[in-house]
């Protein structure tokens, strides 16, 4: 069952075409890894899906309904499509619990007790029940990213977008975040993941997309794309990532 359908998506910044007519269907339960060199448009593609960037052309269809451009519509879409950022973007003036509660309270207008119970559950799920009262400044990078994941999960998203969630982390902290994402995968969550962790993509993704020059250059199962790439540019990209061990 297709939950998200992208067609003819294009986006340019100041005359520079970053995304050039991408078509993409995302089915429920799919876990899509998006790969590509820097500047290939990975992050922009992701940011267009929940309208963090306004696409210049193309449509995005969510549950059979084309998404319009009115703010009220976009905020609803963003509640249904969660996003986790490279730089976490936690709110520094709120505790970990406050960060997770914020969407429930301000956007969903949930009462305080329910929001708190829900937020505590989400923090426990990412293994941070004991850090609820901590401010972001007192959390490690890995803990921050797990709070950010809990914040996205609290909104019950049908689709999760991860924009290089481990790229800003010290190497020894990458594992804990990937562990959380893996457990979400095991729950059968639908997700799109921009990442440089090729090994992780190979084991967790159900489909791999390789982007180049703002278009889908090659896509298929992890085996097809990562082990037996057909296109030259995909091969060149994989060759450059020597740390890639399957």
């Amino acid at each position: 069952m297709t939950i998200l359908k992208v067609s003819g998506l294009s986006k340019s910044f100041g005359g520079n075409d970053v995304i050039r007519g991408i078509d993409l269907d995302v089915a429920k339960g799919e876990r899509i890894a998006v790969l590509g060199a820097s500047g290939s448009g990975k992050s922009t593609l992701l940011r267009c899906l929940n309208f963090m960037e306004m696409p210049d052309a193309g449509t995005i269809t969510l549950d059979g309904k084309v998404v319009g451009r009115r703010e009220a519509e976009l905020t609803l879409v963003r509640q249904r499509i969660g996003m986790v950022f490279q730089q976490f973007n936690l709110f520094p003036h709120m505790t970990a619990l406050g960060n997770v509660m914020e969407g429930l309270r301000t956007v969903r207008r949930m009462n305080k007790a329910d929001a708190q119970a829900r937020a505590e559950r989400e923090l426990a799920r990412v293994g941070l029940a004991d850090k609820a009262a901590h401010y972001p400044a007192h959390l490690s990078g890995g803990q921050k990213q797990r709070v950010a994941i809990a914040r996205a999960l609290a909104m019950d998203p049908e689709l999760l977008l991860f924009d290089e969630p481990t790229s800003a982390l010290d190497p020894e902290l990458v594992g804990e975040v990937l562990g959380v994402i893996r457990s979400l995968a095991e729950e059968g969550r639908t997700m799109l993941l921009v990442t440089h962790e090729l090994g992780f993509a190979y084991h967790v993704a159900t489909r791999v997309i390789f982007l180049a020059d703002g278009t889908i250059h090659e896509q298929g199962t992890p085996d097809e794309v990562l082990k037996h790439p057909k296109k030259e540019r995909t091969q060149a990209f994989l060759a450059r990532h020597k740390e890639f061990s399957l």
């Binding site: 929940n50 963090m52 703010e71 009220a72 905020t75 609803l76 963003r78 509640q79 969660g82 996003m83 950022f85 730089q87 976490f88 973007n89 936690l90 709110f91 520094p92 003036h93 914020e102 969407g103 301000t106 956007v107 400044a137 950010a148 914040r151 996205a152 909104m155």
Partner: protein, 226 residues
């Protein structure tokens, strides 16, 4: 023959000085409150991508930053009532002038503060479905305001000094009260010296408070904007 200082006539009129000080604080407080609200409005207008919205705010800010406060005060007190056909009291003229004037400065402080909040904070807020207004109110402004506090305090102190201009349109602030006492008692030296000292004590107290607050913010690791 050395001058014989005599402060007793000044102290005999202490109640008038006290009333003047209260009025000074009243004008300062009212202008500060209105200026903050108006300044936030100007800042949001300035940040708008709609030129029809951002340009008028920019124009008002420029005009009020580039003309002398006393000229503004005279304009609002003597000229505006004739144009608008309204009654204008000295107090109202002062509060209107100083509110818009502080708003013009606060607008820049607000704008700098809002711009200083990283883009990622807007992203984070929008990603959980917040509207622009919710993101501004819940996420961006609380962080921005904390960084703006020193600039606000500095401006508030400047404002209190500027309010002495109301004495020129005969509003009984501390300076005007001192002038009345000086004329009544023929003791301008003592009266104006006492008035200057009162200003000094009140303003110094405020700036010490401001410095304390700034140090407190510095300790908590917050950067500030000016």
């Amino acid at each position: 023959m050395a001058y014989q200082w005599d402060f007793t006539p000044v102290f005999a009129n202490a109640d008038l000085l006290a009333q003047g000080l209260v009025n000074t604080l009243k004008v300062t407080g009212a202008s500060l409150a209105c200026g903050l609200v108006l300044g936030l409005g100007f800042a949001l207008m300035r940040l708008s991508r709609q030129r029809l919205v951002s340009w008028p705010a920019g124009f008002v800010i420029e005009v009020f930053r580039t003309t002398p406060p006393l000229v503004q005060l005279f304009w609002f007190f003597f000229a505006l009532p004739l144009i608008a056909g309204i009654e204008m009291t000295p107090l109202l003229a002062a509060v209107v002038t100083f509110s818009i004037q502080s708003a013009a400065f606060f607008a820049e402080v607000f704008r700098a503060g809002i711009v200083s909040v990283e883009r990622g904070q807007w992203d984070g807020a929008r990603a959980i479905g917040m509207t622009h207004g919710q993101a501004l109110r819940r996420i961006v402004l609380p962080q921005a305001v904390k960084r703006m506090i020193p600039a606000f305090m500095e401006r508030a102190i400047e404002l209190m000094k500027t309010t002495t201009l109301v004495a020129t349109i005969a509003y009984t602030d501390l300076l005007f009260a001192a002038n009345e006492i000086a004329q009544k008692t023929f003791r301008p030296l003592e009266t104006f010296t006492v008035a200057a000292l009162i200003y000094f004590v009140v303003i110094t107290a405020f700036s010490l408070l401001a410095r304390q607050l700034e140090r407190h913010l510095a300790v908590s690791g917050e950067s500030t904007v000016h």
